[in-house]
């Protein structure tokens, strides 16, 4: 089927999300809480667009709005731009010193005096988009979750203690759009969420590439045993070597 985005027609599959189609066609829609690897959360709301269905326009969240009929989408109307700008005023008021937020706020022309009207906490970097929690859940660890509700909502390990489930994989930090989760790798150790992990050295090149707990977890999950523990690069190299001799040489 086809949909119209900003006046141009595009092909899409039924059930695809508007954001997916837009991104595939290089149409800019800002997001914070979106990751291609994870299902949509719809929490940051920056990706709102207008959808015109049977003559009626409504504001929808493009990352989770499934295309079920041939609708028309407007991604950058004055209304949408205003919503995004107001959202960024609130986000900047929450994380006044965050680089990513500031970049976005600047590009949407957020006025400083609007942000400065509010009490600011300069140490805050988390926008509670929930990507980290989702990633941790998908990882199969579930070491962190959101706690409390309303304005007190936060991301935490259970009771704020080091979580026994945490394997130090730092997938949470990797998906975080605002770099709000500190990961410190130092002297063969990683510290994250108040817990320390031993780092694993690649048995080939010697590079520290993951925590020992993470490696153990990954092998157990995949149900395989490896003779050697290798970093991603060395693993790729070793499988290439194997592939090279997989088939007997054919003389032409």
């Amino acid at each position: 089927m086809k949909i119209i985005i900003d006046g141009k027609a595009y092909q899409c599959e039924k059930g695809e999300y508007v954001l997916q189609v837009a991104r595939r066609n290089n149409i800019y829609i800002p997001t914070l809480c979106h990751s291609d690897a994870l299902s949509g959360l719809g929490s940051c709301r920056l990706c709102v667009v207008e959808v015109v269905d049977r003559g009626r326009a409504k504001v929808v969240t493009s990352c989770i709005f499934p295309i079920t009929s041939e609708v028309e989408v407007v991604t950058n109307s004055t209304k949408i731009q205003k919503i995004r700008k107001d959202l960024l005023v609130l986000l900047q008021a929450r994380c006044p010193e965050n680089e990513e937020i500031n970049k976005l706020a600047k590009s949407f022309g957020v006025e400083e005096e609007r942000v400065n009207r509010f009490k600011l906490d300069k140490t805050e970097n988390c926008v509670i988009c929930g990507l980290c929690v989702k990633a941790c859940e998908e990882m199969g660890t579930g070491a962190i979750s959101t706690i409390d509700r309303g304005v007190f909502k936060a991301i935490s390990t259970p009771y704020g203690d080091p979580s026994p489930q945490c394997i130090g994989c730092a997938v949470c930090a990797n998906v975080c759009p605002t770099n709000a989760i500190p990961v410190i790798d130092k002297d063969g150790e990683r510290e994250i969420w108040g817990k320390k992990f031993k780092l694993q050295k690649c048995e080939e090149c010697g590079k520290e590439f993951a925590t020992e707990d993470h490696v153990k977890f990954a092998f157990a999950k995949a149900g395989v045993k490896s003779e050697k523990i290798l970093c991603e690069e060395c693993r790729r190299k070793s499988s290439l070597d194997k592939m090279k001799n997989a088939f007997p040489k054919v003389e032409l």
């Binding site: 959360l41 719809g42 929490s43 940051c44 709301r45 709102v48 504001v59 929808v60 969240t61 989770i64 709005f65 499934p66 209304k79 205003k82 919503i83 107001d86 959202l87 609130l90 986000l91 008021a93 929450r94 609007r114 009207r117 509010f118 009490k119 926008v127 509670i128 929930g130 979750s145 959101t146 409390d148 509700r149 309303g150 304005v151 007190f152 909502k153």
Partner: protein
């Protein structure tokens, strides 16, 4: 010997709080001591004259405990244990009426013998609340005696599911939880999906401040809800039901569980209902008391054992609901309406209410600064003025009316010139308020609208799920601004910023709760903008509520020197001789407002 009299003692939550159980025990004791036999419909123990059981809420909680004596047709209010002996010797034995315990009807300035003769009840039309105060909620016999389970029999034995659906659709019944989605359409979607497992859910997570309709229905008439849900399941092909009740509602959970158990024992619930082969059962899920779990998708998440956060409703829960299955989710009051719609027919229900889109009746809990606090049910389209002044008896202490808050945190405060709008879904939305679940809070001139707005924002700041940015951060910042205004730190441009954020949150929030979260702000500014401006520019709170913006003074001409204010001042800052004008020492005054509340001559003013 004269006919056996029955004494009905209200054991709803309101009356229990006012010691109705002590009154009940006293009745049992005194009846035995005096050797009088009468049925006491209350609670507690077995007695020789009959089984003791509670009756549910009579609606007028403020005047409880309520004692009804039938067949004499006498209703007594505010009954204390000391009154019991007199009631027995005078009324039960001699049939005399004790005047001082009767209801005082303000419109005719007389006491009325039977509560049914009061304006409070005469103007109401009880449909959803039809059994409340009339039956013992723990007795299935009481319920059956009043026609209970006739509707279920009619539905499963004589009607096809499609025929039941037609009646519900024809009735025009819309969701009583607030948003008002047509129940028939909801059920139709769920019924049209061909799958083995479908769910029926009852939303008993009533959370609006001041609202207690659903609580009363579950506490006082649980069988109606059970019967309604069973009919719903039969109609859509539901296999399992869940009643999600907030854990704070202990008595509601107890009575609902009792009703479910008894209905199951009698073959009205469970496997092979009424021998028809139709099976359906209900399980109670106790909610943790998060306001947001009253939102349908959050409620379903919560039943599934996940964090109670809403999701976008681009695919409706009727199609993909609980555990991904089609789900018919309705509010308690909606379910309680179903049996009577099936019995009397959809067109009967549709004849009540407005001619347009709001059919039937709606229950409200009328609270705040109003004379008759309690539960009322009126046909849709009744005006606010009728509800507040005719049924409610007007503003407490005859102070000037200022506003009425409808729709809880998703609604707004409406001013006096809106009192003549009919109460229906569309009119309220047009006025920037909302039907909501039915909380109605009356406010007088001693209520500061800015302070009320702050209260609702504070409620929402704590009770939003916090998932999406507009609702969490938007409410937080609006609260910050409004708090500043209340504390005298409001700035030029604050009203505009409030409106800017409100508009955005309304459009961009994830769920219904978030989208309606700015309503208290938008409605308050729309109707009481001058009060906001007065707070910001003149640093004055005309209601005398925001302490930093309040200065109380005594008007020399009006003050009679009665010294009542002086006696009640906690910091002794009022001076003056008897019969001479008094004076407040502003430097010592803590702005508690005792003086203005006490003064009978309207002499204390806000400067």
């Amino acid at each position: 010997m004269s006919k056996m009299k029955t004494i009905y003692i209200c054991c709803g939550t309101g009356c229990i709080a006012k010691n109705s159980k002590i009154v009940l025990a006293e009745f049992n004791k005194k009846l035995e001591e005096l050797g009088v036999s009468a049925n006491v419909e209350g609670k507690e123990e077995e007695k020789a004259t009959g089984k003791m059981k509670p009756t549910g809420c009579n609606g007028i909680c403020e005047k409880g405990p309520v004692v009804k004596i039938e067949p004499d047709g006498i209703t007594y209010f505010k009954v204390k244990a000391e009154d019991v002996e007199e009631i027995i010797t005078k009324t039960i034995i001699n049939g005399e009426v004790i005047d001082k315990l009767l209801y005082f009807e303000p419109s005719i300035k007389k006491r009325v013998r039977h509560f049914k003769d009061s304006e409070f009840l005469k103007r109401q039309h009880k449909v959803a609340l039809r059994h409340i105060g009339e039956v013992d909620p723990t007795s299935i016999e009481d319920y059956i005696e009043l026609g209970g389970f006739e509707a279920l029999k009619k539905a499963v034995l004589q009607m096809k599911p499609a025929e039941v659906l037609k009646e519900v659709t024809d009735s025009g019944l819309r969701g009583r939880g607030g948003a008002g989605f047509p129940t028939g359409r909801k059920w139709n979607t769920a019924a049209s999906i061909d799958t083995d497992v479908k769910y029926v859910v009852c939303n008993g997570d009533e959370g609006d401040p001041g609202a207690f309709m659903d609580r009363s229905i579950m506490e006082s008439d649980p069988y109606s809800v059970v019967e309604g849900m069973t009919i719903g399941a039969y109609t859509i092909g539901g296999t399992q039901g869940f009643a999600y009740i907030r854990d704070e509602y202990g008595l509601a959970i107890e009575n609902m569980q009792g009703a479910i158990n008894t209905a199951r024992e009698r073959g009205l619930l469970g496997k092979n209902i009424l021998g028809t082969g139709f099976s359906f059962d209900i399980e109670i899920v106790r909610g943790g008391g998060a306001f947001v779990c009253g939102e349908s998708t959050a409620l379903l998440s919560s039943i599934e054992g996940k964090v109670g956060e809403p999701r976008a409703k681009y695919i409706h829960t009727t199609e993909v609901g609980l555990w991904g299955q089609p789900t018919a989710l309705n509010n308690v009051e909606t379910w309680a309406n179903i049996p009577i719609i099936v019995t009397k027919g959809g067109s009967w229900y549709g004849s009540l209410g407005t001619m347009e889109k709001s059919k039937g009746t709606k229950a409200f809990s009328l609270v705040g600064k109003v004379k008759n606090t309690g539960l009322v049910e009126v046909p849709m389209g009744t005006t606010l003025r009728e509800i507040i002044f005719d049924i409610g008896g007007g503003v407490l202490n005859n102070r000037p009316f200022k506003a009425v808050q409808i729709g809880g945190p998703s609604g707004g405060c409406l001013p006096e010139d809106h009192l003549d709008i009919p109460v229906d879904y569309e009119s309220l939305v047009k006025a920037d308020s909302m039907m909501g679940s039915g909380g109605m809070i009356v406010m007088d001139d001693r209520t500061c609208i800015v302070d009320v707005t702050r209260y609702y924002l504070n409620f929402l700041a704590e009770e939003s799920c916090g998932k999406c940015v507009p609702c969490r951060e938007g409410v937080k910042r609006m609260l910050e601004i409004v708090t500043d205004i209340c504390e005298g730190n409001g700035r030029e441009g604050d009203i505009e910023e409030l409106l800017e954020i409100s508009t955005m949150v309304r459009q961009a929030a994830l769920c219904g709760l978030g989208k309606s979260a700015p309503n208290p702000v938008i409605a308050s500014i729309r109707y009481f903008r001058d009060e906001f401006e007065e707070h910001i520019k003149n640093k004055r709170c005309r209601a005398g509520v925001c302490k930093p913006l309040t200065t109380f003074i005594i008007n020399d001409e009006k003050c009679k020197g009665c010294s009542l204010c002086k006696k009640n001042c906690p910091v002794n800052c009022i001076t003056g001789e008897i019969k001479k004008p008094h004076e407040i020492d502003i430097d010592k005054c803590v702005r508690c407002g005792n003086c203005i509340n006490m003064c009978k001559f309207d002499a204390v003013k806000v400067k």
